[in-house]
Symmetry: D3
Subunit: 214 residues, 6 copies
């Protein structure tokens, strides 16, 4: 029995370190098998004979999300983790809802450019080039604006009424790095103090709002 147990452990443990999806379409569809224990670059596919219309469908962007957050904005994603049919398609969407004067604070998407369509409200949006130039504009309902890959960008609701945008990305999992949260949630005090030239006391105060990730 020992050999069975041993083999089994080897196999199960191995499974824990497997699974992936590729960056280019090598067949019609590769629906993500999200529950798979195997870990890979992206996601493995479910058997193509088992795909259903539901694999390519998501209804989670239909409604306005509660915007009572610290910054007054909420992002709801429709990426491969929610819509497995997006696996290998290099495409995803998000809905962003804003409280009156709410802000989607400065952030970067490491793996995608973004294009937004204003569903409702008035926003001030922009991005910063690596040369430090701000490209920003006021948007109204129905307007479209785009943010190039990897550059710092933000959107702010400039009205006293709620606002919403629909965003699309050229990645099934663009990733989001919220700058203030990443900096003050993860970096050591001395790095932050020297970077912002703030007193340690000030750094600690800002950090209170961002419990370091465990």
């Amino acid at each position: 029995m020992a050999t069975f147990a041993t083999h089994l452990v080897v196999v199960v443990v191995t499974m824990l370190f497997l699974a992936m999806a590729s960056a280019e379409m090598l067949q019609d569809v590769c629906v993500a098998d999200l529950s798979n224990a195997v870990k890979v670059n992206g996601y493995t596919c479910k058997d193509s004979t088992q795909i259903t219309p539901e694999d390519f469908y998501f209804k989670g962007l239909a409604n306005i999300a509660a915007t009572n957050t610290s910054t007054g904005s909420v992002v709801t994603g429709a990426n491969v983790e929610k819509l497995p049919g997006l696996n290998t398609l290099g495409l995803s969407m998000s809905r962003i809802d804003y409280a009156p004067n709410g802000l989607n604070p400065p952030h970067v998407h490491p793996r995608a450019s973004e294009i937004i369509f204003v569903l409702e409200g008035q926003l001030y949006v922009g991005f910063v080039t690596t040369a430090g130039k701000l490209i920003a504009k006021n948007l109204n309902k129905g307007d479209v604006f785009t943010f190039p890959k990897g550059l710092i960008h933000f959107q702010k609701n400039i009205a006293n009424s709620p606002a919403s945008v629909l965003a699309a990305f050229d990645s099934q999992l663009p990733g989001t790095q919220s700058l203030v949260a990443s900096l003050f949630g993860a970096l050591p005090d001395d790095i932050l103090a020297k970077s912002f030239q703030l007193k340690h006391k000030q750094v600690k105060k800002i950090k209170l709002r961002y419990a370091p990730k465990k």
Copy 2:
């Protein structure tokens, strides 16, 4: 002077055959210089010191388009030709408006996958795999669905009221090949007759609706 004239002709003629944009981002932004005489793969960029917020902005998707067409649907693009800042970003949007029971007939996008969000109405949408399997579903307002790259797909308004969707693509210029129009607008009668196994009379009748492109 003759030599000047000659040089000038050489130069101007050469210009008529130039200009391009690349498939990957090699700098922060490369805003398309759409009016450039030079022809390239994509578009050349305007001088980066001359970019403005307007280059990344488009308001042409704000309103419902007139849908009194033969099939009862109209596609309004927000691609690099309308929004030059999309050049090299590998991303674009379209708005599709449908008359009651209007149809966006079967077509393929040679260079992009597509994801749609229903702005208004009820639609029956789907795509066909190369194995000939139909993946289709009824959608309501706020629903999201996706169509994999290069596969035949369609959307039909299944209600007696107008409908609209917002579509995003993983290409700044996805291209659209409407199948019936391409087949009956461009192919010779005998190819069509043999392909559809229709009588030439029937082929000619369908062709009447599609004047061959000059």
Copy 3:
């Protein structure tokens, strides 16, 4: 024993959802492991220590195939499914044989451009741009012609003798969507009737030749 049985089921079931190959070469070779239960984007590789010359070899294109089909043409593929060494190489071939006056009806390859060499006979071949322009030409033995990615194209034998071409693709699995078969084999009657503006009776008649895929 129950735990063994349980683990085993978990493992085996997991296996049913695994396996893939990538879009770029990340080592010398990645020979497809076609029999693998794991499903991925492309195919997993067999152990590189086990590769043999046969993995890179295929003899199935040597002979003319029987062309007594409804359209009078037969495509024989030498893609990754037949020639596992092509996995990750982004390249494949096909042989197309035509009966006298046989037709390879309008179709698209969602994932590849195509280049053909006429082994025997005389053909009329062409493709249609997304602008609806037909680019077509008569070819003789030894001629080469190319069809851009994702565009509708066809070849017709214009002689009363058999013809054959050798085709190459920039994908190890280009995929083929035969338009008439996909449209009339998969789409609902009302979509087809409205798309082609045919009577339901005519649609049903054409459909008889294309039993919907199960």
Copy 4:
């Protein structure tokens, strides 16, 4: 003459909006023509018959740079702008010199991952995942560490003696967005105040060190 003048203006103006380099190698080499008036995605190539060994050579990383900057670090690039032969190669280098306790403050490269080799000294380096996890380590002379594409990272000299690293990137022009400088050099006060939850007074004070780019 007027027509000559007019044509000439057209041509020269057109030239001002042209020139590009592609993302993939389509020939052996494409040495950047940096002085070209044409603007493209990357750089155009000089005539391949005119290339010399100097096009592939750079000596600017040989010496330690002066590190008497506000943060005590200096980055010297060996990218396509300095080494034109790198055009289309998707590769570049930088040398980073640090004063005792000098810091290369948190930044992102929108278009590249980075790998560093410690030429001299002791450093504390790290990056933050989009999940907010800090991956950091102390490095000594000869150690190698890598920072994934688009993620926030930093290096700090933790010794009282100078330090230097050699960095390589998988892009000929990776781009650098220094976070504090970009945020406080480019964004409006209210966005910063709300993002960092700082008083406008504090924001203005930090901003003093970063004159907005003109």
Copy 5:
């Protein structure tokens, strides 16, 4: 007039450093403008309104080439330089003709994998992995074999009658580096002597057959 002359020189000289084609298809077709003075990564496109079927056609592979060369083989290319419609398609073909016992000596294609179809004759073909393993096989008429990207490979006619193959590549301009010719045609004697551990006398003797490129 001087200013005209000056401008003209500026413009014409600039033209000499321009022109390119991209690595991905950003529109239906981008037919290479081969005569363009502008140099870029690939080729610029001719105006899409000017394309003709001839741009996608080549007849130069129809006939057997004279094989009375030093090694008894001749390669005839159908790449973008001969077939401009291949520009951006990432695909090309070659015909290789062999004298009895002729050899296509060891070479590498820096930018493409290769797949061959034997038109006539019997060949011994193979490639060498970076691990130094030879993967080789005898082929007969109609057989298909593939050579992975960047690996050393060769084909030898093993019969006393002529042979021919049709080769396809996943690049519109794969490039060929014939090893013996490149080594003995370009490298200094001492590098060759030390690499092959040959006497300088032997090196000079082999070099006689390969006049260094000017």
Copy 6:
């Protein structure tokens, strides 16, 4: 029990044919799971919750390697096989140490361009284009030079003292095909004799130094 044994064999055998990593980053990091029995294009990832700073760290380039080899040079790699965090990053490094007058003989990297920085010494380095042109230069400490993807290149220590370079590649596993070793270690005598136009006796003599790989 037999069924357990059988299932187990199936599972374990299946495991032997699995495992892969992709060519593009589809999440923040995908640390290679090098010990995984599964074989794929690249490597599978370890569970992202299990990553540590050590996964992104390597100290094996810190010291000079023994250079008492036949050619007087040694290459020490810092690729994905040594530094698992490089998986999917498309980047790696090597350290090359040279004995006085040592040579890194002519070779190609099938999957990467290379850029080098001279840590110590004086070298003569160069590459050969597919047109047979040698691009070579003498380098001193601190100099940078680059070798385009897939082209033959070499470095020779031209001083009587040791030399060292740090090399970077745009691939996590660039691969190296040493030409003389590959040719004389793997190819049949007759191919070599005809390629180099050497006598079989001379071929056999050179081959003595390169035992064919088993």
